[in-house]
Amino acid sequence: MEAYEHKFSSVISKIKQYQPEPEDAAGLTDDIMQKVRNLPRTQAPKTLVWFRVISGAAAIFLVGLFLFQSEGSEVKTTNSGSALLHFRKSGIDSACFQGTKLDESNLLKTYACYLKKNTIENNRFKNIKQTSEN
């Protein structure tokens, strides 16, 4: 064990002591500078930052638009499918149209029932109610 440790540290220290140098250090520097001179410097950062901000905002907008649209389409589907489901979704009490078939349901009557139940009445509603009864 000790022999190995001695051998190991001896080899490592010899390698560390040896400082390799390129044959022509100045020439190597010149070569590097020559290559660098012909390289186009990337000026991406500022453009990239703006690109990231704009694309990020666009992505958020698109996701928002998608969510908004998909919510709208959900209401449409339920509208054409079941009136009960639609009113449940919109928060109207189902007691207002219980027992009525979909093709027989009168939306205004149902709405009037809902408003009555919740004691929400105004002048405009009265006009609508009269129109529907006529």
């Binding site: 080899v11 560390k16 390799p20 390129p22």
Partner: protein, 184 residues
């Protein structure tokens, strides 16, 4: 060549404004450091020179990405290490290395040869004989820890590996080298 931190800072700022003279100062200051690391990793003079060139080209191109929370030398080391790692991983390079002569290590230990009389090619052969059975990652970690005397925390920054992974690579590397030295 040592460079004062303030001078380095100025040189970086000037280099970002395409000042070639400032960049030349950076190259001259870090060229030897990169060459030494590259030579110890790729064990070949010409290959090491290629690594130096490639490293400083990347430094020039990506200088705007340098963040001051890291030492500049660590950042340069990281670039050079990545280039060396790619070389070590390439099949062509592994094929070119061939078999290393282990008798050189014995000569080195027995001090038959003074350090200053060693040729670059001989030292390359010694390092190669010592590390040729290591995987590229083990070789990189081993060289950074034992030849360059860097702490594990700095190796973490350079290689991007976790401290645990670095320690396990170091353990395995030492195990291989130990077996090799004991076989002699």
């Amino acid at each position: 060549m040592q460079i004062h931190p303030q001078t380095l800072q100025n040189c970086i700022e000037q280099s970002l404004k395409n000042d070639e003279k400032a960049f030349r100062t950076i190259v001259e200051s870090y060229q030897d450091m990169v060459y030494t690391l590259a030579f110890r990793l790729v064990c070949h003079q010409e290959e090491a020179k290629d690594v130096v060139q490639e490293t400083f080209i990347r430094v020039w191109i990506h200088l705007h990405r340098y963040r001051h929370d890291m030492k500049f030398s660590t950042w340069v080391y990281a670039i050079a290490t990545n280039i060396c790692l790619d070389k070590l991983k390439s099949k062509k390079y592994r094929f070119d290395l061939g078999k290393a002569d282990f008798t050189m290590i014995d000569q080195l230990i027995s001090e038959e040869k003074a350090d200053d009389k060693l040729l670059s090619s001989e030292m390359a052969e010694i390092i190669q004989a010592l590390t040729n059975e290591l995987s590229p990652k083990q070789k990189v970690v081993f060289a950074l820890r034992f030849f360059e005397d860097l702490e594990v925390e700095e190796i973490v920054k350079i290689t991007g590996m976790s401290a645990a992974k670095i320690k396990s690579n170091l353990f395995l590397a030492r195990k291989y080298i130990r077996e090799k030295l004991e076989r002699q």
